[in-house]
């Protein structure tokens, strides 16, 4: 496999392709870029930036809680800290980073020239970035949201959250919703229509399946929170009564809407994690994951079930008992598809040939942490027990076990795994192991004691606690653990920064993995594949090559992609592909003005629309030379 392929592309053709798919030069060109790899890299870097910011806030909170009656942070700032931490991690890191990886990887993994709706993809990124910067800008100006990432009304409502803090939060939700929904459409379309010929649905890599399922979940869950946050901002700004029990609204309505989104949201963080796991385990076990169909069905089942258990966040409210029992059952039953996947992976490990590299270590840690988090999840699903541990540190422990164990560990593994593809260089293995072990130890040190703290009665979201209740030691331990995590993350950053220059050159396929992204250069050329591959099985790079190996006939002097059918990925037609454009960026700017303006006046929804309309018109305005080029390439079907 190491020898150059027999049908190597002539250098001239490669150069032409490169020129065709390149971005225009200069700063403007960068802003105009619609290359999914560029956008994906930016997306990932931005998400990690927010991860660091959110982590810093968490570290501050842990320092405040290190000892009882600590005076480092007052209640006002603390409320902003935990709100910003939760909001950042959920809306600005966990969901976007998964979509970011998808933006980078999915087109490569399905063997596509690029991503579907590339300008929309760029627009989604810019919106996300601007939303995040808006939130942090507000935070720095002391306009940081302070009603919790869940923003329960009436505390987050107009009467008890004066000023504009919660409005910035609600508008951030609008930003991330918009970005998330657009990305979901982009990913779904890419997976459905731009797969390499031959990659029928039953040959789609598990990671791509996970991202597809996630995208569908986003599509169904996000509108709920979009409604909810729009209602909130209308209540606050216009004086509507969605959540005002005094005028026919309901404070509990917010909780239903929020958790109808909020619980699936946990799964659209977790399911991509499962995708990472499958990718990593296959490569480092040197075999395909056992039980492909079971895995896919489990993903889909998880997605469906995840919409049926939002009420377990609300057991302490006064709801009918029968309903609660139903949600107990649903919350427990969702463990089954996850269990199936875990068992399949164990079977994979047991029958594989294990290669313990850093990505694999992160993947293996998943088993310990996620299974533990899953167990506490079962406990939280039980109504009576939840009534004791709900809103205590037990839940804090649980959710970090599930989200960090289920998503961040695989994510770090994924970073180590795909870093060479993105940069062409491997990350340092030695630093990676240090990184892993520090993270693993620090994580457990921080969060395991919180189980005990919660059972011993420590509620969440308290900026301090009295001495003498038996919480002091465990809190200190947790703070020490948090510092260890901080050290570990610093190491990761250092590793990434250093390896970008000094890392070992990776080559096309440093892990000898099976999926299509490794079939091209590292980092991949502008057009992804000099010749788009044709697929004959689930593990295209592991299977013996079969003819035809490549797609032929796509234009090289104009942007053109091959569109295939949804189920069997039969070549369907060639489609012209958009050129880079500055307008998505301008549109995002205009949208930002609209969104931020509507924090202060509802009229922004009127005058703010004008620039958005202008930018969108310019974006979609047919350019004669593009139309001509596409017409030139048109051929009658033979």
């Amino acid at each position: 496999m190491s020898e150059p392929p027999a049908d190597a592309v002539p250098a001239a053709e490669a150069a032409r392709l490169h020129a065709t798919w390149s971005d225009p030069p200069g700063l403007l060109g960068r802003l105009a870029s619609i290359d999914h790899k560029v956008i994906g890299r930016r997306f990932i870097a931005t998400a990690f930036g927010f991860f660091l910011a959110g982590g810093l806030l968490a570290a501050l909170m842990r320092l405040q809680l290190a000892r009882p009656q600590n005076g480092l942070v007052g209640p006002d700032l603390y409320a902003q800290l935990f709100t910003m931490h939760g909001t950042t991690m959920m809306f600005l890191f966990a969901v976007p980073v998964m979509q970011a990886f998808a933006v980078y990887l999915v087109p490569l993994m399905v063997g596509a020239r690029s991503i579907a709706f590339p300008r929309m993809n760029a627009f989604a990124y810019w919106i996300y970035l601007m939303g995040g910067l808006m939130l942090y800008g507000a935070f720095l100006l002391n306009v940081g949201p302070d009603a919790g990432w869940f923003a329960y009304v009436p505390l987050a409502g107009p009467e008890y959250s004066p000023g504009k803090r919660v409005d910035f939060w609600a508008q951030l939700i609008t930003f991330t919703e918009l970005s998330g929904l657009l990305e979901a459409i982009v990913i779904i379309t890419t997976v459905f229509k731009l797969r390499a010929p031959g990659m029928a649905l039953h040959r789609v890599p598990l990671f791509v399946w996970a991202m597809l399922v996630t995208a569908f979940m986003v599509l169904f869950a996000m509108p709920a929170v979009m409604l909810a946050s729009t209602g909130l901002i209308l209540d606050r700004l216009v004086g509507t009564h969605f959540y005002n029990p005094g005028e026919g609204g309901d404070a509990l309505l917010w909780q239903h809407l929020f958790w109808f989104f909020g619980h699936p949201e946990v799964y659209f963080i977790f399911i991509p994690g499962l995708g990472f796991m499958s990718a990593l385990l296959a490569t480092f076990s040197r075999r395909p994951v056992f039980g492909y169909s079971a895995m896919v069905l489990s993903l889909i089942a998880t997605a469906f079930l995840s919409f049926g258990l939002w009420v377990h966040h609300m057991f302490a409210t006064n709801l009918p008992e029968l309903g609660k029992s139903f949600f107990t059952a649903a919350s427990m039953m969702i463990a089954i598809p996850s269990a199936v996947q875990i068992f399949c992976w164990i079977a994979t490990l047991a029958t594989g040939r294990l290669w313990f590299r850093t990505p694999m270590l992160f993947a293996l840690a998943f088993f310990f942490i996620l299974v533990l988090g899953g167990m506490t999840g079962l406990m939280l699903a039980s109504v009576p027990l939840d009534l004791q541990v709900h809103d205590t540190y037990f839940v804090v422990a649980h959710l970090h076990y599930v989200l960090i164990g289920g998503a961040v560990f695989p994510l770090f593994g994924a970073l180590y795994y795909w870093y060479p593809k993105m940069t062409g260089r491997l990350m340092s293995e030695r630093l990676g192991r240090w990184n892993f072990w520090l993270f693993f130890v620090g994580f457990n040190l921080t969060f395991f004691p919180m189980h005990q703290l919660g059972l011993e009665g420590m509620p969440r979201r308290v900026y301090t606690y009295p001495a003498g209740l038996g919480w002091d030691g465990l809190n200190l331990l947790a703070t020490v653990g948090a510092l260890v995590i901080a050290a570990s993350v610093a190491l990761l950053l250092f590793n990434a920064w250093r390896s970008a220059r000094h890392g070992e050159p990776a080559g096309d396929n440093p892990w000898q993995a099976a999926t299509l992204e490794w079939a091209t250069a590292s980092p991949p050329p502008r057009a992804n594949f000099d010749r788009p591959p044709v697929v004959h099985g689930r593990e295209p790079l592991w299977e013996a090559p079969r003819e035809p190996r490549h797609v032929k006939g796509l234009a090289t002097d104009a942007r053109e992609v091959l569109v295939t059918t949804v189920l069997d990925a039969q070549p369907d037609h060639r489609a012209g592909y958009p050129d880079p454009s500055i307008w998505p960026f301008v549109s995002a700017l205009a949208t930002t003005v609209l969104f931020v303006g509507s924090i202060f006046t509802p009229w922004a929804a009127v005058w703010g629309l004008a620039p958005v309309a202008i930018a969108l018109t310019a974006w979609f305005w047919p350019k004669p030379h593009e139309t001509d080029a596409h017409l030139r390439m048109e051929r009658a079907p033979r």
Binding site: P245, G246, E247, G248
Partner: protein
């Protein structure tokens, strides 16, 4: 008999009668006037027979003969706000009839120069008309004998201005009382002042309450057996209600009965025999309240009082418990929103009945009690007819306090009826206010099916003419603090028009057959009192400034006159020194219902004036906010 001759006789009788009365009142402190009255009654009976013989009918139900004692049926005067002890507001004058009322013309007029709601009834005695204004409670005596009735004197009690800040519903006054050559007025800052009728000289004055705690007096006093009876207002300020008796001659306080608290404060003693078991027990005025809530529990006495000389019983309602938010006062909250029968000499309570136990909506129980003798189950019974704010017309045996009947005269969603066995109002839990919740469709609204505006009773038609409103509301109660001198309400209210689309009504109610005979609709609440006359004409005023006359038997509109301001006063009818029948009313919009206009409240706030300002925002701003007396007569 030619009518001019009849008039002369009547005028002569009037002059003699008043002279006689004055002398009797001055010379004998107690008891003596009865002789005079008896004498007068004889004369009157003869005269009345001749007068009424012409129209030739007497109806079965009668205003209690005994109860209407001091007001001589033939006497064309109007000595107290409701004319007689029985609260009938019935004038025996019959010159004005449905046939000629259309020719009624203004005779003279008088401007008071005051801008609050003029809810008072002008009084007529000794050839003078006494007009008491709202705050600053000036008393004007108009000389009826002189053309144009120019003021003879004006008495200014100079009440403290800050009383206006604690008066819940505009600084109104509901009238004075005349007795034996003296006029008694109450002032907003809780004083009772006795003024010599002829000269306007102050005889005595007495302060009965503390305005800095929110206490005010708005009611019309009643003079019974040489005692001036008054009660306080301030149920919206956490003021503990009471009724007090002052010696009419000296102003000395003879007794004071509270509406809440231990029995000794309420003047409940061994002779207290309430009809229903729920009202029996010791210290219920304390035990039906949590903690010390009774001390700020309201139960004020600000409605019209009634007196039955035969039974020697004084009847007075008690107002709503405070605060409005019922959750702050679990229990029956005795003795609020009910009616007491007391001995006027000692104040001792004889019986009590609670219209609205644990009142949920500010349904004060102070509406007038009209004392009648009605046939009930085949026999004539002394009864008390009471159209309550809670929407029922009650008929009680006024000797025992037994409820004989209770029938809705408006649409009611707050209760489903009155259990006659236990006497208890059956609340509808669907409209029960609960803290933190907005309860919708509460009918009638807080001012009730009918508020203070007194009804009139015509013995000729056997109908009770109830001026009332037809409105509903949404309420949200919340926990409120008692801070002395500030409101103690704990409720926000939005009012709106009730079913049918008209906010006001004049309903003619037949208490025997227990149903309305007819009803006239008005766009605005009928916030004025009613007047019934022996000529079978019923008068009332509207808040948009019309003074109207309708046929007592059918409700047919007969006549109307547009005044410069809305009418919330009480029309009266009297025979002038010239022998003619006059009808008088004060115009001057205000009161709770008119506060939005009077005080230029902001109707954009639906809770302004506890909901009334916005519900009345289409009330046209009158030509003048100042009060004006209108007196009408046939040409």
């Amino acid at each position: 008999m030619p009518s001019s001759f009849r008039a002369t006789i009547a005028a002569l009788t009037l002059c003699r009668a008043s002279r006689f009365e004055r002398r009797a009142g001055v010379e004998t402190a107690r008891g003596r006037p009865a002789h005079g009255i008896a004498l007068l009654l004889t004369v009157a009976a003869v005269l009345s027979a001749t007068v009424h013989g012409a129209t030739g009918e007497t109806r079965v139900p009668q205003a209690s003969q005994a109860a209407s004692a001091p007001a001589d049926p033939a006497d064309g005067g109007w000595p107290m706000a409701t004319r007689d002890y029985a609260n009938t507001r019935y004038s025996p004058l019959a010159d004005i009839t449905p046939a000629n009322v259309a020719t009624l013309k203004p005779a003279f007029s008088f401007r008071t120069g005051v801008k609050h709601g003029h809810e008072a009834a002008p009084l007529v005695a000794e050839g003078l008309m006494f007009v008491v204004t709202p705050f600053p409670n000036r008393l004007h005596a108009l000389d009826l004998a002189r053309p144009g009735a120019p003021p003879r004197w004006t008495f200014d009690p100079q009440p403290q201005p800050l009383a206006r800040g604690v008066a819940c519903c505009d600084g109104v006054n509901r009238g004075a009382a005349y007795d034996a050559g003296r006029v008694f007025i109450t002032t907003l800052d809780t004083q009772v002042v006795a003024v010599e009728a002829q000269s306007g000289r102050e005889l005595w004055r007495r302060r009965l309450g503390d305005i800095s705690r929110g206490e005010t007096i708005t009611m019309a006093p009643l003079v019974v057996k040489g005692k001036v009876l008054v009660g306080n207002s301030g149920g919206e300020m956490g003021v503990r209600g009471w009724i007090a008796a002052l010696d009419a001659a000296s102003g000395r306080e003879l007794w004071r009965a509270y509406s809440t608290g231990p029995d000794r404060d309420v003047l409940i003693g061994p002779s207290f025999r309430p009809y229903y078991a729920a009202d029996r027990g010791t210290d219920l005025g304390e035990k039906t309240w949590p903690g010390e809530a009774w001390k700020t529990g309201g139960g004020n006495v600000w409605g019209f009082l009634a007196y039955d000389p035969q039974l020697d019983l004084l009847y007075h309602g008690t107002a709503n418990p405070g605060p409005w938010n019922p959750e702050q006062r679990p229990g029956d909250n005795k003795w609020t929103s009910g009616v007491f029968a007391r001995r006027p000499d000692t104040g001792e309570a004889v019986w009590f009945y609670q219209w609205s136990p644990h009142d949920l909506y500010d349904y004060d129980g102070v509406n007038e009690n009209v004392l009648l003798d009605l046939p009930f189950d085949g026999r004539r019974r002394p009864v008390l007819v009471h159209p309550d704010r809670n929407g029922y017309v009650y008929v009680l045996d006024r000797a025992s306090g037994q409820v004989l009947s209770a029938d809705p005269f408006v649409r009611i969603t707050t209760s489903t009826g009155v259990d006659l066995a236990s006497g208890r109002l059956k609340y509808d839990p669907r409209t029960e206010p609960r803290a933190g919740q907005t309860v919708r469709n509460i009918c009638p609204h807080s001012p009730g099916g009918k508020d203070w505006q007194p009804s009139a009773w015509s013995p000729r038609t056997g109908l009770l003419y109830i001026p009332h409103q037809n409105m509903c509301q949404d309420t949200r109660v919340y926990e409120t603090s008692y801070i002395a001198g500030t409101p103690f309400v704990g409720a926000e209210v939005k009012m709106y028009t009730g079913p049918g689309g008209q906010r006001g009504r004049l309903t003619a109610w037949d208490p025997v057959s227990r149903r309305p005979a007819w009803s006239v609709e008005e766009p605005f609440p009928v916030w004025s009192g009613a007047l019934a006359t022996a000529g079978d004409v019923v008068f009332y005023g509207t808040m948009d400034g019309w003074f109207k006359a309708v046929d007592a038997k059918t409700g047919r509109a007969l006549w109307r006159y547009k005044t410069a301001s809305g009418i919330v006063g009480q029309p009266v009818s009297y025979r002038g020194p010239d022998g003619r029948q006059y009808v008088a009313v004060l115009a001057g919009v205000g009161g709770w219902a008119g506060a939005g206009v009077t005080h230029q409240l902001d109707a954009r706030d639906p809770t302004a004036a506890k909901g009334f300002a916005a519900a009345m925002k289409d009330l046209p701003k009158p030509e003048s906010l100042e009060g004006q007396l209108y007196v009408f007569a046939l040409p």
